[in-house]
Symmetry: C2
């Protein structure tokens, strides 16, 4: 993703599908516990030198194949396909399965045996089967004299064909990932499971004790866990690779590993990009999210059913706001920026001193600046004419997807827009057809806001605004669109997708007709953005990365791209203010913090925890922190010890870790995890789900 | 105290006798919960407007007469003279009473009935009986054309005579306090109790859980309490005014009052003074304390008995370092300094605009600058020739006191040095004669350091250094002094004091002979400092204060002077980092924080708390925070509700409150108190001292 686009996304980065790979590289060699390492490039010698333990290939393969990708992170924890992830990762599933009668978000859910395990509509997971370097093939598709835009088009076409071939040849999905700013390309091949069922999710108050206030905070007292199960042929999947449990957990100072899917870091970005983020994109994105948060809060205040409907989206909005505020704090920290500047200066100086490097790479930084200059000059278009408001969610987004699907599938595969290649269509169709509930009154709020913003941002005389509004007020248009559309019906969507072509072109559903009016302009803006910004930045960052390889060597890790990575570190508290923050918290802390606030609201003791207080060993470690290098998307990652046994479950970074997007810091930045001992204790003593604890332990023998 | 002197003191400000009144005034009108108000100037209307409760004169008198001054703060909590204060206030007493066999600091002490209550040698307490404005009398002693130095001498003489008269006429000690930078003078008259016994002190680990790390930190989990009892005629004193207990404590948001003895604030100081503090005095003082801390740690590491001997002084050293670091953080905060600058600019502008004010006050700020200029030019003398090293403590300090006592008492009262007026002698004698233990091996460390610093700071050719060392190395001199002196014997000290005159002049004790060699130079430097700095700053700050009165009115409070003040505020948590800090902590938190750190060292559950865990209601509030304006010296202050009932016991300010020395802040700065419910619960359930809880509650009926 590029500087402009990624900042305005609606979804929490922690669980957002990372559809476009971020193209980056750490510009200095990794030291200490730094790095989110691809599984084919783990610094085993460095780990051995630091911790006296050198992972073998078999050790790495086992952990990789036990790791689960579900647009966030998870792991298999029994031979019967039991999956451990976070509550907030499974939250969307719980929300989709909930009804006004059964509020699984508020009350939690425990399946009493396999028959009660609930299929989650549209949910798939995947396991990374193999990694193959395809740099030569991808780069070979680019003609010597190609412009950045032509090069990008050629590469994208080649990538699509590699992915299609993978599916045809192996029956498994492949995804070509651009690493190190495009200096390398790798084909990641996945085994997919498409029958996923909800097994266990605690009530929100236990998983999210302390609410938005405590989010991204440590010390923390959350049981942010959930369990799913992969099924095959209607039965629990038998998996060969899964994590055994270490019921004793980890100790202070212990070496631990985190295997998961960090979504995005910007460590390779040039200073100019970071400054643009800091001064333009992030403040805009933040303001937009705060506006929507305010609207959602007003909506929620109408009644308990409204509150239930908006709960999940409000949760992710708060989450994203707090996360982006943390990143912005980092970019506004003179020390952090000085560090970035000195890194960039050092690399540029090294390039200038070497005539060969100079010829190849010297333009990279200037090219980025010119791309940003272009973006500055097209700010309004990029904000309001490139995507449907709020990141393309909602029924208008669905309408646009259907219109595009209809158009794109009539073209040869290699000419299609990203997302519509043959290999991508099964996912696309499942997602659009899934029978997720639609709340039109809630959509009214966000759709009207998106249309208002567009009208205000572009001005009433803009032809696009005129074409969209056709003389109506944004609120009134949203109302008539939502009243008139049938897109909330899965059967209607399915029919349109199946018939496509004329059926879509002639469809008089008001959302579809609006999408048809909008699409040409959106496509045009997107293409301009792609040619003038994305392609230029991509080419420039590739140069920066290659310059880095030439100067510092290749023993480094690429920026996060949402693909599987291994991080390592130690369990460790840290100094804060005038005192120390402990490495662990315990169940005692729930009670202390709750009663300290008068045991109410987000700070009340979860009802089941209170009811079973006498049964719980309160000194059981609940959450802990370690120095592993993580970011959003790592939610749900297993934490394992040197024997590869599960000791924790990542669910957060502390507030000090947000600037890790740009620079890793070991002083205070920490990865926050649920302790495996809390997981076992809670299943047994609080939730009457000892069978799940037993299943994990039995599989561990 | 002045900018130079106060920063180099050895003792923790929280319990240091405030011998010289700080002369200050808040330069803008107090708002919200700001202010440490003298009891004759409590803003009852403002409190009424803010909280709907207007204290009556009787309400104020009762609280004043229930408040106890013991160079820190305390209160009567039963009709039989039971006194409640902090563990760290009574710590010195416990240390003095301890022996290698009975370590009351480590193990605590609970008197099983009155017979076991242990007299504390040399300890007195006092209760503020009356306040009388003597501004006219004091200022009347100054001749119209007097220089600042002459004016100061005249006022000091008059003040001594007022204090002597008070003792003669009433039989009670009086102390004239300079308020508002010397713009006002008040005679504070005290009833004294000189038979004070130790009743209860918990073990250090319970009172100081979290150790130096958690000191000045909140959330906090300390039972920082102790109980003493005043005796008269060998029996528990019957007191008319004491605090009744509110066993239900206070709630979040409740109005509360704090009655105690804040030691020093510098809110009236000019910017030039603050900058001098920031750039010169505080960094020097801090370095000196850190040096001594390192030496004491090395000493402590020698063995358990050494650790025991150094424990208290090391505690106060850590305390002072952390406190001064917090103040320095404040002075290095551009926002705080900008606030001070804008306040000063506003006042100076108002003075410049009014011809009358201009004539009277315009020189104030320049005069301060010239005093500071003088101090800068005499830095070495002021650091090494004004006082015996480390604030005059230790046997060399005692020797100097005896030499001065001998000289001064031969003069007429009004010509004596401060501290040696007739009215001050009983305290002086009791203090010097008290049979406190002396550890020569420990003194070797600090005395050698003080002598080394002097030699290094002044250089080997300085005549004073030559006179002191007489060719010896500092360490060797310290050794021979300590080996040869008999001053560690109370009887020897008593004899010298009783005989004085020739006995002291001819005494060949090596400490006494060194003190005789040093004293003339120390006196000379002190006089120069007094005339060129103290007197000038005092006169200037008086002008600044009077300018403030003229511009903003007199509805304001003076800077803290170690005298009894009333503060008010509300029980309130606060935002910190990305979350909220709770208003209360509970006993649960001890266990959470202890187990979070592995239950060891400073973070281990206190043994008796662990042993009685099953008996304790763990949700009992342990500590809480409120917005009352406090500072060091408030330790041990009672917190009372609007009915005047005890709800808490102040023992700390959080780290964010340290810059309160210069500017009050309500956002995060908090007063930290032990909750009365924890006091009652601990006495009953942990310490088998239910009789003390009963005594408080019975007296409350």
């Amino acid at each position: 993703m590029t500087a402009i686009e990624k900042r305005t996304g609606f979804l929490c980065r922690a669980i957002a599908p990372v559809l476009v790979a971020a193209l980056c590289l750490a510009s200095v060699a990794a030291r200490a516990d730094e790095g989110m390492w691809p599984y084919d490039h783990v610094p085993v010698k460095q780990i051995g030198a630091l911790y006296g333990f050198t992972p073998t290939q078999a050790w790495l393969d086992h952990l990789r194949l036990s790791s689960v990708d579900l647009y966030a992170s998870a792991s298999f924890v029994s031979r019967d396909g039991l999956i451990l992830t976070n509550h907030h990762v499974a939250l969307g599933a719980a929300q989709r399965l909930s009804t006004p009668e059964h509020n699984y978000v508020r009350d939690g859910f425990v399946a009493q045996g396999p028959k009660q395990e609930m299929p989650v509509p549209g949910m798939t997971i995947q396991v990374l089967e193999s990694i193959e370097d395809v740099t030569g093939i991808v780069d070979g598709s680019v003609k010597p004299a190609a412009s950045p835009a032509q090069a990008k088009a050629a590469r994208d076409e080649k990538i699509a064909s590699i992915e299609n071939d993978c599916l045809k040849k192996t029956g498994q999905k492949g995804h070509v990932v651009a690493l190190y700013g495009g200096a390398k390309y790798a084909l990641y091949r996945y085994k997919e499971y498409s029958d996923i069922r909800l097994v266990f999710i605690p009530e929100l108050q236990a998983a999210f004790f302390g609410g938005d206030d405590d989010n991204f905070t440590y010390p923390r007292y959350d049981l942010d866990m959930a369990m799913l199960r992969a099924y095959e042929n209607g039965k629990p999947a038998k998996v060969e690779n899964y994590l055994k449990v270490n019921p004793s957990g980890a100790k202070d100072g212990d070496l631990v590993f985190v295997s998961g899917h960090p979504g995005r870091t910007d460590r390779l970005q040039t200073l100019a990009m970071l400054e643009y983020d800091r001064d333009v994109s992030m403040p805009f994105g933040l303001q937009r999210m705060k506006d929507v948060r305010a609207l959602l809060k007003t909506y929620s205040a109408k009644g308990p059913e409204e509150a239930r409907r908006a709960r999940t989206v409000l949760y992710f909005m708060e989450n994203s706001i707090k996360s982006m505020e943390g990143e912005l704090r980092g970019l506004n920290d003179p020390e952090l920026m000085a560090k970035k500047r000195s890194q960039e200066d050092a690399l540029r100086l090294a390039v200038e001193k070497d005539l060969k490097l100079l010829a190849q790479y010297q333009n990279a930084w200037k090219d980025v600046e010119s791309a940003i200059e272009w973006a500055r000059g097209h700010q309004s278009d990029l904000r309001y004419k490139m995507d449907v408001g709020m990141g393309g969610r909602g029924l208008l987004g669905t309408a646009l997807q259907i219109v595009r699907y209809s158009d794109e599938t009539s073209k040869p595969d290699q000419e299609r827009l990203e997302g519509f290649h043959d290999s991508e269509l099964p996912d696309f169709l499942r997602h659009v057809q899934a029978p997720a509930p639609v709340y039109k009154d809630l959509e009214q709020v966000t759709l009207a806001y998106g249309l208002e913003q567009m009208a205000e941002g572009l001005g009433p005389d803009d032809p696009f605004v005129k074409a969209v509004l056709q003389g109506q007020q944004p609120g009134a248009l949203a109302k008539s669109l939502l009243e008139g559309t049938k897109l909330d019906g899965p059967a209607f969507r399915k029919k349109l997708l199946e018939n496509k072509g004329k059926a879509v072109a002639k469809c008089d559903d008001p959302m579809i007709t609006l999408a048809r009016r909008m699409d040409p302009v959106l496509r045009e803006t997107r293409k301009a953005f792609r040619d003038h910004v994305e392609a230029v930045e991509e080419a420039a960052l590739t140069k920066v990365a290659k310059a880095g390889f030439a100067v510092y060597g290749t023993d480094t890790y690429p920026d996060a791209t949402g693909t599987l990575r291994l991080a390592f570190g130690k369990v460790a508290g840290y100094p804060q203010g005038t005192t120390l923050v402990p490495p662990f918290t315990t169940f005692y802390g729930i009670f202390d913090r709750a009663y300290g606030f008068g045991n109410k609201g987000d700070f009340s003791v979860p009802a089941r925890t209170a009811a079973h207080q006498a049964d719980i060993d309160l000194k059981t470690p609940l959450d802990f922190v370690c120095t592993a290098d993580i970011t959003g998307g790592n939610s749900g990652s297993p934490v394992v010890d040197r024997e590869g046994r599960l000791v924790g479950l990542v669910f957060d970074g502390n507030a000090q870790s947000h600037p890790n997007t740009f620079v890793y810091d070991e002083y205070q930045a920490r990865c926050v995890a649920v302790d495996v001992r809390a997981i076992l204790e809670a299943l047994r003593k609080i939730y009457g789900a000892g069978n799940l604890a037993d299943e994990m332990l039995e599989s561990s023998r």
